[in-house]
């Protein structure tokens, strides 16, 4: 289909993009287009101007900056999956990217787009939130950095204002003795949105959980930080029964709806199972690191 009255713009740098975004009527930025073009084709959004980010070099690349990893908003899922830094420090993010869509889509879809589409089932946000990532937002005269856990305000809603562009994602390098794991349940092996996805982070010092974060996706309008379940873990020694208790608590912290992918009941069951599995996996990551360290 042709979207006849759309005008496409190709700003060459960030400031031009931000200027256009502020000036043009019914304008949206176009990254990979794997979400936006589908919305437009289905008549779900009205757009008059599309601002392609394609030519903006500042938005590309994954690199280490101090004690953080910076991912440009235009990093594709394929780049995330294969990036050595990501695989070294937060393999769970590579897992999340690998669980998404299909081969072709992953070479088009971007990190910025996955976050900014603010879809409840999006697969990167849970791991990013668990990893305590922040996002950098630019508008015409300033930029700000906000925690991703505060970014989403509802389905397809976020604090990113009109005229604001998401430029980078920063992930603090996880401290030693930390494991981050991601689990997704979907109805087929490729091109499938999450029925539920969960990411958990555990930092274990001297045999005790020092910090824990459990983040649930697709079970509420925005990703849910299961704070009760996370809190329950802190200060305790990891054990099967502890994890099971946390999983049971997490189950009650999700607030899913029933839709064509799953009912409230099934989603709650899945929260519990996936939470426990991510905790087990995060723990074994830490144990693996310790073993290697020795």
């Amino acid at each position: 289909m042709v979207i006849s009255d759309i005008a496409l713009h190709f700003p060459k740098n960030l400031s031009e993009a931000i200027r256009l975004l502020g000036e043009l009527e019914e304008a949206r930025v176009l990254a990979g287009g794997t979400d936006l073009l589908i919305e437009i084709k289905q008549g779900l959004v009205m757009v008059k101007n599309l601002i392609s980010l394609k030519k903006i070099k500042e938005l590309k690349g994954i690199e280490k900056k101090g004690n953080r990893i910076r991912m440009g908003a235009l990093s594709t899922l394929e780049e995330v999956m294969s990036d050595p830094l990501i695989n070294q420090y937060i393999p769970a993010l590579a897992d999340a990217a690998a669980s998404m869509a299909s081969f072709q889509i992953r070479s088009m879809a971007t990190v910025g787009g996955n976050i900014s589409s603010a879809v409840p089932s999006a697969d990167l946000p849970p791991t990013l939130i668990a990893a305590e990532a922040t996002v950098e937002l630019h508008c015409s005269d300033s930029s700000r950095e906000v925690s991703l856990s505060e970014f989403f305000t509802g389905p397809r809603e976020m604090i990113c204002g009109k005229g604001e562009l998401l430029t980078s994602v920063f992930i603090p390098l996880p401290p030693d003795e930390t494991g981050i794991a991601f689990q997704k349940f979907a109805l087929r092996e490729a091109s499938a949105l999450a029925v539920v996805n969960v990411a958990s982070k555990l930092t274990i010092k001297k045999g005790k959980i020092e910090r824990a974060l459990i983040v649930l996706g697709a079970v509420a309008p925005t990703p849910v930080l299961a704070s009760k379940a996370s809190g329950l873990l802190c200060g305790n020694k990891p054990s099967d029964s502890l994890f099971e208790k946390a999983a049971l608590t997490a189950r009650e912290e999700g607030n899913p709806i029933s839709d064509i992918r799953g009912s409230i009941w099934h989603r709650k069951e899945l929260i519990q199972v996936l939470t426990r599995r991510t905790l087990d996996e995060a723990l074994s990551q830490v144990q693996g690191k310790l073993r290697r360290g020795k």
Binding site: T34, S102, E189, A190, I260, G262
Partner: protein, 953 residues
Amino acid sequence: MKEERGKHRIVVLNVNSEEHSVAVKDGETLLDVLRDKLRLTGTKKGCNLGVCGACTVLVNGQPKNSCLLLAAACEGDEITTIEGVAGEGVLHSLQRAFINHGAIQCGFCTPGMIISALDLIKRNPDPSEDEIKEALSGNLCRCTGYTRIIDAVKSWKKYKKTKEPPSRSYDSEKFLTVGRSLPRVDAADKVTGRAKFAADYYFQNMLYGKILHSPIPHGRIKKIDTSRAENFPGVKLVLTGKDVPDITYGVSPARYDEYILAKEKVRYVGDEVAAVIAVDEETAEGALNLIQVEYEELPAVFNPTEAVQEGAPQLHERYKNNINTHVDHHFGDIEKGFAEADCIREEEFVGNHVYQNPLEPHTSIAYWENDGSTLVLYSSTQVPHYVHYMVARVLDIPLGDIRIIRPTVGGGFGAKAATTPLDLITSIASKKTGRPVKMLYSRKEMFLYGRGRHKQYMKFKIGVKKDGRITAVKSKIYLDGGAYSSFGVITAYYAGSMIPTLYMIPNYRYEGFRIMTNKPACGAMRGHGTPQPRFAFESLLSMIADDLGIDPVEIRLRNAMEANTRTCNDLDVRSCEFKSTLKEVEKKSGWREKYGKLPPGKGIGIGCGGFVSGAGYAIYRGQVQRSLEKKPEAFQKKAIFPHANAIVKVSEDGTAVIPLILAAEIGQGAATVLSQMCAESLGISLSRVRIRMEDSDISPLDLGAYSSRTTLMGGNAVVMACRDVLKKLFATVSEIWGCKPQELEAGENRIFHKRDKSKDMEWAEAARRYFNEHGPLVGTGWYKPPEELGGDYKGAAVGTSPAFSFGSSVCECRVDLETGKVKIERFTDYHDCGTPINPQAVHAQVEGAVVMGSGETIMEEVIYDGKGNTLNPNLHDYLLMTIKDVPEIFSGIVDSYEPEGPYGAKEIGEGATLPVLAAVAHSIANATGVWIKDLPITPEKILKALKNKEEAA
């Protein structure tokens, strides 16, 4: 009122190393520009929403979905389409691998598959199976079951780049063609993107049409105002119900109940209300929004149980209580049968409403030629003749004034087995405008048009003796038909008639009701009405086996159908090797070592089934004639006209043989097996055969690709025509040699004397000699099913066939008992399809059916919202199995010979689906300890059943 239209800009696109400067609108996708403007139509549009992968192209070496790229944003990129994969006249090794491994059926997914695979082998010349699956994870295929695609990519290195055509290269020393796994005759065109599907045709001055669909499930049309649409710039014609004939159409003659455009009432969300014909698709679509329709909404009903209640909303006056069809069949005496039984079990099952989803969307193009007196209709149909018949009826013109062209078809599975609104609207609109008119369905419109599998609510009761022998079977089935009849009358009969063909059933009762509801009409899908009852029956039989402590394979062997049996419902089974299929799957799958011995979460299950090899009777009664001028005819127990007809024409130089037959190649391989039989019967090599099946002006009538009829019926017609050719040829040659025609034989591209080695002539030379003396060398052949098929009761015609196929499948699966997720790991299937004309093609049908049937059992379903709206009319939410979901599949063929079939052949296309559903369901029950009896068996249902069981314990 003119809307502001997007401006064009000139962009320079680098496609296949050639620069094209094209005027594009900013909103145009690369896919549309490649196809519509550059006419590089090898890149396909299957979904337009980024899921199917048919539109995959390489952009700077990376595979991407061209439907999600804007052309204007691709300036400066290097784009490679399928047309650029190999040089002119040369095939890439990968393309050759696809050809030789039989990785192609309809070919619609093939260009995208090859592009994705090409990128993979460039990155990784020796990919593992998992790497192949990952690389092709965004390419859906509905036909092949992916198995052969994986094999092809794995072994691409074995093939060298070759000059085309490769077909000549399989001219081997041996000239025997039947029974050999030869590559498809259309393969080279399909791997290069040259094969032309209906949407790939463009005609000068062509217009485009779009349909306005009803937004409400049930209502009366009070007023339609089309004036704003008519005045919209670019609009040429607007049609509504008053502009189309007052003639109903459909499939079953007793129930023609559809108008081309709604006359008075709409009956489902999607019903056709109006059509706009304009200079391009976008304009037509835009103008649809300007048509104002005032409806008086009527109460609607969405499920059969409510629809039959007194006082329920009535869809059609003629179907009282919304009962469209009622079947009541009783054979033998079930009271007596159940009284004799030692064990009786009754269970309820639900078969789901799935949609065929051929990868190619329906397309029609019509124009009028021959001074405007002859309609030419290009249709992506699987039944060119029935489209021909129906268009003649609705336009009320003789069939002789219509020429139907069936281009390459991208799969059907029943979705393309009826005349569509597109066929009829393009025909009418092209007449009115005097210009060619093209119309295509979007994926969403395909779902709205429907004709998928009926949802069936089934109650089955089986009685058996202690030793497992069946004494009686009873079933009661409600079929949710949707808003119109379509095939449904036949579906309702099929749901009952095929049950007694697999096992010896002495007493049988079937009661079926097809009920109208305010949803898209259901139709015939692969296995037509029979896979769900078969699923129910097989599941129940396995339950009973467990109840009695008899092995599920054993109970089947004890009841299995035997050759030359007349079933209780008067169907004549001739060849039957059902028992061998059971014994073979049992052995090959390691059944005895596994059944009942697997750990929790692992399961094995069995299912069996079979199907007709072509329906015994045509869908309409009487002769081939405009239906409105025929008097209503009484049913006669014989075919009135031949169901398959062939002309075999030899080129004047004798080097080429051209079989003409209107049989429909839709991906299943009809062109190849018919060509093989032609070559075999004439004693020539396959490369000399060039079949023509696409044009009704050229090829004589064949009823098309439904009821798995082509191999048997089309094959018989072709073989007979070939005999006719040989008779003429032998007469000429025997005269030259002064011997008797009976003393001659044809083979290895020669005509020779059976005993006298000195008498030997090139086949082509013999044909030339014939032409010199007698003019064109042509043979004709036809096939009529045997007379007197079936019993004398109402509906006895449905289920009759010259021959029946049989098969058994064993499924092995793994279930995650905490989430309910199923992984189908392995399938073992053996089939009795008579003589396999092309074993590779048989296996390919089985693999495709296993994957389609597995999807139907665990993940596919059209979902409605309770107000008649389809919630998942796209390939994101309607789940087809991807390459990463498919099991390992073993397909085997047992020795069998069907006397009524050409070279002993029977069907495989639909029958292969039948065992699958129950095999999967049984394996899940075996893995989990709970039987899920309503399809699809989703993770949620499994988990729920497990929890319920836990609580009960």
